[in-house]
């Protein structure tokens, strides 16, 4: 208990509506709240930051109790020393970017160098004397991030801090956040939907669904399980394959997917040379070794990149990289018999008729 | 509600100086009991009433506390007939407890007196009070002492005295009579200031209203004069 960075165990209800009822503990380091839209992630952050008061339960940060409805203890938000990046930024519209950034900064221990570092890291150089209304969406998000970081929090809460940023910027900031974490040891709790971000950043992941913690643990395992869960409850992924160099060949069309021949069925606009083809995972079969004579016309060879057993369903979803990623649904027994595993080379067999040319 | 209350048949709109409102209301009640014309009284400051007449507002009869304004509407051709109806006295009043011990105008200069209330320079009561004090040789010292407070009208002046905010004030006898909590300590000599006159005017609009003529006459009748006198006014002799 005492080694946890944060222990959270709260119930909170919006009026008569959504109820959050979750308990989790975060180890020191970087953690991620993960879960579908509307699952209560922002609500969690608000509770931790003290912007909402739980109906029951308690939140502890290190050795400090932030709120405990049992004993009536309550630390007001401004004494919690938590930096928060809001989903919608909430920059102060009447202050310049410089003043926004400096708002939470304890002025005593700073002679501009920390501000300069953050400005450099977030590439905000030319914007300091503008007002938030004069920034682009991504610029606003970066300012919000910088403002929270400069407040020297004991814990940095970030609600989707990197969405709306281009990949280069995202990578750069991720890198810097990592550095900041290593150098200054600032623990972070972030909300993100982006698996790249999560897998790269997080040590610990908490998965929320409909206000409840459905899973938590080390990042990779937890995310793999999460993907599985989503797929179990969801119609599942739909393959969308890009077929290039399409040309007529006798009574049908054919093209190329990542260097491999692909047969198309159905009408195709005469001047298209690139089309998209949609097929369902269950319409794809897998084969190991040489292709035998078979009625399935399309054979795409690739490597298994991912393999997800769907619990209680005796199914598995296999991601095969044939140059493009193809999801294949197989039974658990087929999976065992064929010895499917990540890295195994397989051939995907797709019936041309089962595909659907998109355009 | 009619467009023009003053000219509804049998109705007479009397524009009355605020200080005559009560007595006129009594006369109006009397008239109504007798089945006479209905008097509607609109009371305000004499200046406001005159402005209304000048602007062409309906109004059959004007009882003014200020002859200057009557002159003004006569000059503008709005007065059909004018009679000086009432007179009044100026009195020196003090709060009930009279802590400054003011007994006569000369005491106004004593050190015990902090404030003396007069009506505004431009209203008759103020003008006349100033002249009365001047006649007594008190005005220059008093006005130089900074203890003069001008209430806008007589009523406000009286309110200061009633509340004891000032140590003395100069108002009309009629107003003083209506304020039980003040004491009249002195009545100024009528020779010391121009006569206080309340002229009664039949306006040009009232001339076309037969009922107005009746009311105009009634207000000058001996019966009306007696009632005016009961309220402390001096009915003036008919010209």
């Amino acid at each position: 208990m005492s080694t946890d960075l944060l222990s959270f165990d709260c119930r909170f209800q919006y009026g008569q509506g959504f109820t959050l009822e979750s308990a989790f503990a975060l180890p020191p380091g970087i953690s991620v709240l993960f879960g579908p839209s509307g699952s209560g992630k922002s609500t969690c952050l608000s509770l931790i930051a003290g912007l909402l008061r739980p109906d029951a339960g308690a939140i502890r940060l290190c050795d400090t109790t932030l709120v405990d409805r049992g004993s009536g203890l309550w630390v007001p938000p401004h004494r919690r020393r938590l930096g928060m990046v809001f989903q919608d930024h909430l920059l102060f519209p009447h202050q310049t970017i410089r003043r926004n950034l400096g708002y939470g900064m304890a002025s005593r221990d700073d002679n501009g160098t920390r501000l300069a570092q953050v400005v450099e890291m977030l590439d905000l150089g030319g914007l300091l004397d503008r007002y938030p209304g004069q920034l682009s969406g991504g610029e606003q998000r970066r300012v919000a991030l910088g403002r929270a970081m400069l407040s020297e929090p004991q814990l940095l809460l970030m609600d989707e801090p990197l969405t709306g940023l281009d990949e280069a910027m995202r990578d750069r900031i991720l890198h810097h956040l990592h550095q900041a974490h290593e150098r200054l040891g600032v623990p972070m709790l972030l909300v993100s939907h982006d698996q790249v971000v999560v897998r790269r950043m997080a040590g610990h992941v908490v998965v929320l669904e409909e206000g409840r913690v459905v899973d938590q643990g080390p990042a990779h395992e937890t995310l793999d399980r999460a993907t599985t869960r989503t797929m179990a409850s969801h119609p599942g992924p739909i393959n969308l394959l890009r077929v290039e160099e399409v040309r007529r060949s006798g009574d049908h069309h054919e093209g190329v997917i990542a260097g491999q021949r692909f047969h198309l069925a159905g009408p195709i606009a005469p001047d298209s040379t690139t089309v998209y083809v949609r097929c369902l995972p269950r319409d794809v079969a897998l084969l190991i070794g040489e292709v035998s004579r078979i009625s399935m016309r399309n054979h795409l060879v690739g490597t298994i990149r991912d393999l997800i057993h769907i619990p209680g369903d005796h199914r598995a979803l296999v991601a095969v990289d044939v140059g493009q990623l193809i999801w294949v649904e197989v039974t658990d027994s087929a999976c065992r018999e064929l010895g499917l595993a990540i890295g195994v080379r397989v051939t995907c067999l797709i019936k041309a008729l089962a595909t659907d040319v998109v355009g | 509600a009619s467009e023009d209350p003053g000219r509804e048949s049998g109705e007479v709109l009397v524009l009355a100086a605020a200080s005559t409102q009560d007595v006129l209301q009594r006369l109006a009640d009397l008239l109504r009991e007798r089945g006479g014309p209905v008097m509607t009284i609109s009371a305000a400051g004499s200046n406001a009433l005159a402005q209304q007449i000048l602007a062409g507002a309906p109004g059959d009869i004007y009882l003014s506390a200020d002859p200057l304004w009557v002159q003004e509407i006569a000059n503008a051709g709005h007065a059909a007939e004018t009679v000086p109806l009432l007179g009044n006295d100026l009195v020196l009043v003090v709060p009930a407890e009279n802590r400054a011990d003011v007994r006569e105008p000369g005491d106004l200069l004593s050190d015990r007196v902090r404030h003396v209330a007069l009506a505004g320079e431009e209203v008759p009561a103020g003008r006349y009070a100033e002249q009365a004090l001047r006649a007594l040789g008190l005005w220059d010292t008093l006005s130089g002492s900074g203890r003069v407070v001008r209430g806008q009208n007589v009523r406000l002046t009286l309110a200061y005295v009633e509340r004891g905010e000032v140590d003395a004030g100069i108002v009309y006898a009629t107003d003083a009579a209506a304020a039980p909590s003040v004491r009249v300590v002195h009545t100024f000599q009528r020779e010391d200031y121009p006569p206080v006159v309340y002229p009664l005017v039949l306006t040009t609009r009232g001339r076309d209203n037969p009922a107005a003529a009746a009311v105009f006459a009634f207000l000058q009748s001996p019966e009306a004069r007696a009632i005016f006198a009961e309220h402390g006014f001096h009915p003036l002799a008919a010209p």
């Binding site: 919006y14 009026g15 608000s46 912007l51 909402l52 919608d88 | 509600a1 467009e3 023009d4 209350p5 003053g6 709109l13 524009l15 605020a18 200080s19 409102q21 009560d22 509607t40 009284i41 609109s42 009371a43 305000a44 406001a48 402005q51 209304q52 000048l54 602007a55 062409g56 507002a57 309906p58 109004g59 009523r155 009579a177 209506a178 304020a179 039980p180």
Partner: protein, 235 residues
């Protein structure tokens, strides 16, 4: 408290005050809304002049405002003369004149309240409505006004309260005619002239206070109802 059981003339004054204040608000709030919006949004040459004229009833003593109205609306006035000659309508000394005077006096207050609300408003929401194909007039009524509702409510409440208390301009242009224009303030003024007036005015003062409380409660109720929509901590 002698006047607790109100006399018929007192009831008359109360009824009249409510009537006058009601119409002052109903007639003047719509133009105040448009003007408040205009002043908040547009920058134009002569804006200060418009603003000054509109605020005159606030800076000038009400009697002066009343006098100016009287001069304009009297039978000899620039507006009064044609009204009288062509339509046979006389405004001076009617309750309509009282409503007009109250409205004019309260007008700058209404405009200001609405203007403040309009200035606090995010104009991008209006832009969003435009991109959805809504005509600017529809945008004004469905987006701008509801978002500026605090200002409208405040304008209405301020205007109503100010009208209930209006004295100087009213007595100038409407006179003090019992049952027609003698509203509560004029009534109070009237009885304060007579013996024991202060004491006799108490009943009316209390009624004024009750009316004010009523107006404020109504404003608060409307505000609360619309406020509930803002919801929790999110926008």
């Amino acid at each position: 408290m002698t006047g607790w059981w109100l006399t018929p003339p007192e009831w008359q004054a109360i009824r009249l005050s409510l009537l006058v204040a009601f119409w002052a608000v109903v007639i003047f709030l719509p133009p105040a809304t448009v003007l408040g919006w205009w002043l908040a949004r547009r920058d134009f040459w002569g804006k200060t002049a418009v603003d000054t004229v509109l605020n005159l009833p606030l800076v000038l003593p009400p009697v002066v405002t009343g006098y100016l109205l009287l001069v304009m609306l009297g039978r000899q006035g620039v507006i009064g003369r044609p009204l009288d000659q062509w339509l046979g309508v006389e405004i001076v000394f009617t309750w309509r004149a009282a409503a007009l005077a109250s409205g004019v006096i309260a007008f700058p207050l209404m405009v200001r309240a609405i203007r403040v609300a309009m200035l606090g408003l995010d104009t991008r929401l209006e832009q969003a409505a435009l991109t959805l194909g809504a005509h600017p007039v529809r945008v004004f009524f469905t987006i701008t006004l509801p978002l500026a509702r605090h200002g409208l409510i405040a304008g209405g409440v301020l205007g109503f309260a100010r009208s209930i208390g209006e004295f100087g301009a009213t007595i100038m242009i409407a006179g003090s005619i019992p049952g027609e224009t003698r509203t509560m303030p004029l009534y109070i003024f009237g009885i304060m002239e007579s013996p024991n007036g202060i004491a006799r005015a108490q009943g009316m003062v209390i009624v004024s206070i009750l009316i004010a409380a009523g107006a404020l409660i109504v404003g608060q109720v409307i505000e609360n109802r619309s406020h509930r929509q803002a919801g929790g901590p999110k926008r």
